[in-house]
């Protein structure tokens, strides 16, 4: 296969970026997209050029690092991560445009690498269970129905890749935040901090500068882990009921 790549090149966070075109003549249809990028980078290094920087780690679709906006879709035309996307998805001779995630809250560090620590700060704002759980409890001490357990697990499948933000026309992080809120809200272990959690996580999400949700459902269509927008509706319910019924907890407490 022969392909033409249009890749976003940007030296540093504050540098002005631009598209550079690369002719790639040694592509096998069995290569993953990242392997294709590796081969191109090897050629660039041999020529003494700066290779294209991109995030990657596990290469088996579970770490969520491989953030590439390929031909107008996060992770390319299939509902997978970029590492699970193969070149057979593209036509011989095709021109492929590769861009970084675009969001004010995800600044570009270099080329295709963006800073996704905004997601970490949202998670740190309340995406955990604080209670001391003690020793390992006996099985079935806390009964959870199969359906609820499945739904919580589906929400917990979110790998925080940021494809939802990249796909959303408003760069909204609602699918990510709602998945993280839902995985705890559904389970009894998460109930103790339920209200405080959703209030803090939504506040952090807004502080980071993500857009609002207009229910286009593009996030759901692009999510490599098929997280449902039903989670967004759940977070809306959680947030409103928390805001109208919670005690206003001051940080520091005890005053």
């Amino acid at each position: 296969m022969k392909i033409t790549l249009k890749v976003w090149r940007q030296k540093s966070k504050d540098a002005k970026g631009e598209f550079k075109t690369y002719q790639h003549d040694h592509v096998s249809s069995d290569m993953s997209f990242l392997e294709m990028m590796d081969v191109l980078n090897t050629q660039l290094i041999k020529k003494g050029e700066d290779p294209i920087h991109f995030d990657h780690d596990c290469r088996e679709g579970i770490c969520g690092m491989c953030s590439m906006y390929i031909n107008g879709q996060p992770h390319g035309p299939l509902q997978t991560t970029t590492c699970q996307l193969h070149m057979r998805t593209f036509k011989d001779g095709e021109t492929i445009t590769v861009e970084p995630w675009r969001a004010q809250a995800f600044p570009v560090i270099k080329d295709l690498v963006v800073d996704r620590s905004a997601f970490d700060r949202i998670q740190q704002a309340g995406g955990y269970v604080n209670v001391n759980t003690g020793g390992v409890p006996d099985a079935n001490v806390i009964p959870i129905s199969k359906k609820i357990a499945d739904e919580a697990f589906d929400a917990a499948a979110c790998i925080g890749c940021g494809a939802c933000v990249a796909a959303c026309k408003n760069a909204s992080a609602m699918l990510f935040v709602s998945a993280k809120v839902s995985q705890f809200a559904l389970l009894p272990q998460g109930h103790a901090e339920r209200k405080e959690r959703v209030e803090k996580m939504v506040e952090q999400m807004d502080t980071e500068g993500f857009g609002s949700c207009t229910n286009t459902r593009a996030c759901e269509a692009e999510c490599p882990k098929a997280i449902s927008v039903a989670n967004i509706a759940r977070m809306n319910r959680e947030y409103f009921s928390a805001m109208v019924s919670s005690y206003e907890v001051k940080v520091g407490g005890g005053e």
Partner: protein, 226 residues
Amino acid sequence: MKWLIDLFSSTLGRKVLMALTGLFLILFLAVHLAGNLQLLKHDGGRAFNVYAEFMSTNPLIQVISKGNFFFILLHAGVSLGLTIRNRKARGSVGYAVTSGKSSIWSSRNMGILGTVILVFIVIHLKDFWAQMHWGGIETVMYDGKEYRDLSKLVAYWFHVGWYVALYCFCMIAIGFHLWHGFISAFQTLGLNHPKYNPLIHFVGKAFAIVVPALFAWIPLAMYFNI
């Protein structure tokens, strides 16, 4: 009261305002249509004029009407604020290539559709509502009582070709706006459940087609004397 300010300044709270005002305006559309359909009666506009007189004089309707104006402005105002925020959220550099495959057209263009509708509302108010209240509208007598002859004014405009075309175009815009807006409002309010999702989707889509189609049918029927 800080929590209340926090609630309605958050993106989620502002979306609730969009959903609630949107649902109110959907109800308003249904009531407005029920009134307009009386224009199709071949009674010289009597039923429509009696209805219009009631709507512009009944004290309860007057209160709801003030609320309606407020909700239209709130719906437009909040959406403007959110749109500015959403544009900013993309960052200074946007995408060079975007694909529309993952969402429906109307959901991505609610702002443009809403602007068309807002302009239509202004024209619509100027030509009918303002004439009814402050214009030198003609009157007609039914059973010894004087009524303002709004149906005559409507009949005048609905025989002007470009006006009928503009009206129908705006009804298409309302249809697309409703196609996304009706279902979206329920999702924003957190009402998403497999038991009643099919009903919301069916009613939402049916409403988005039937209501604007009936609105548009009235000027078409009058223009072509059907």
